[in-house]
């Protein structure tokens, strides 16, 4: 869910590895970033809506990745995937560091781009 640069890259790599990938984004323009083969099955939809997740086949999915730029949308979608649809593997991007820490404590598999990028830059500065 979320087809920005990050979503596009993740989807493409997973697809190249041979996985069946469905990409969901609210903006049809964003889906044009995808390789043509992935565009065929990509869907315009709101990842925070149960109906749209269901339409994307979440009930039979093995993994759900929420990487839109909206923290709260990612958090709602990821928690829905985990608690309502019991998806085995759920990964959620949360840019706000405080929010990221809290959801990690609550057991959500969260990744903070803010924290990762800051750490990398700090490392570069210190080296």
């Amino acid at each position: 869910m979320g087809c920005g640069r990050v979503g596009t890259m993740i989807a493409t790599v997973l697809w190249e590895e041979g996985n069946h990938v469905i990409v969901l984004d609210a903006n049809p323009e964003s889906l044009r970033r995808l390789p043509e083969e992935l565009q065929k099955e990509a869907m315009v939809g709101d990842g925070s809506l149960e109906e749209d997740l269901r339409r994307g086949g979440i009930e039979i999915s093995d993994a759900f990745v929420a990487v839109s730029t909206g923290d709260t949308t990612n958090v709602l979608a990821a928690q829905m995937a985990k608690h309502v649809f019991q998806v085995g593997k759920v990964v959620c991007r949360i840019d706000d560091p405080a929010c990221f820490e809290m959801y990690k404590e609550l057991g959500l598999n969260a990744v903070s781009s803010t924290q990762l990028i800051s750490n990398l830059i700090l490392q570069a500065v210190h080296s």
């Binding site: 149960e50 709260t72 709602l76 608690h83 405080a98």
Partner: protein
């Protein structure tokens, strides 16, 4: 009580005014500066400009001493995250959230929002009450289970009119709580109670069982 309200739309504004009138201490958190300014001019300096989904903003709003935390933005995901931060970071005893999409209610309750208010469901139940052909009205969902309280009006031509309750095949997952008679008297029915035309039967049932209950009570002879 000390109450934090997130979202200063129409709902947040009127809610805050009502809470202030009841002599609660209220603070509003709102992202839009112009909206905050308008409220400040009318109600005084009890507004914080900021994102209610950010821990630092809620700290500034005094979330750690709040008794009640209410989110009424038009965006469900923002309501959820704000409530979860209030609950898990500031241990607010009671979190209340507006639900814009009724299908989110179950998830919100499961994730620890104490009270969910679904505007769609409330309006729908009022409309159901006004429509004569709607024999079943949803009053409320019971927290922590999939049970709900419903009201069913018995039509004059129903098969159960004149029957004793003990002989009516009420579905297993449903429990008749009380009966409001046409003349306004309230009866807690035993097995011998006789059902009458235009009685309003209030029952606890499940989402799956409500159809069966309705069919039993309103089915035509």
């Amino acid at each position: 009580m000390y109450i934090i309200v997130v979202g200063a739309g129409k709902m947040g504004y009127h809610l805050t005014k009502a809470l202030l009138k009841d002599e609660h201490e209220v603070i509003i958190v709102e992202r839009s500066a112009p909206k905050c300014e308008a409220i400040r001019e009318e109600l005084g300096s009890m507004v914080i400009v900021g994102d209610g989904c950010e821990e630092s903003v809620l700290r500034e709003a005094g979330a750690s001493r709040a008794d009640v935390f209410i989110t009424v933005t038009g965006v469900d995901e923002d309501n959820l995250v704000a409530c979860q931060i209030a609950k898990h970071r500031f241990q607010v005893g009671r979190t209340i959230s507006l639900i814009n999409n009724p299908s989110n209610e179950k998830l919100f309750v499961e994730l620890g929002v104490d009270v969910c208010v679904s505007s769609t469901d409330i309006i729908l139940s009022h409309i159901e009450e006004e429509l004569p052909e709607h024999s079943l009205v949803h009053f409320m969902a019971l927290r922590g289970s999939n049970r709900e309280i419903v009201g069913i009006r018995i039509p004059p031509d129903a098969a159960v009119v004149g029957q004793v309750l003990g002989e009516v095949p009420i579905p297993d997952d449903s429990l008749i709580s009380f009966v409001l008679r046409k003349d306004g008297t309230l009866v807690v029915p035993d097995r011998e109670a006789i059902l009458g035309s235009d009685d309003e039967v209030v029952a606890i049932t499940t989402a799956e069982g409500e159809e069966a209950l309705r069919d039993v009570l309103t089915g035509i002879a």
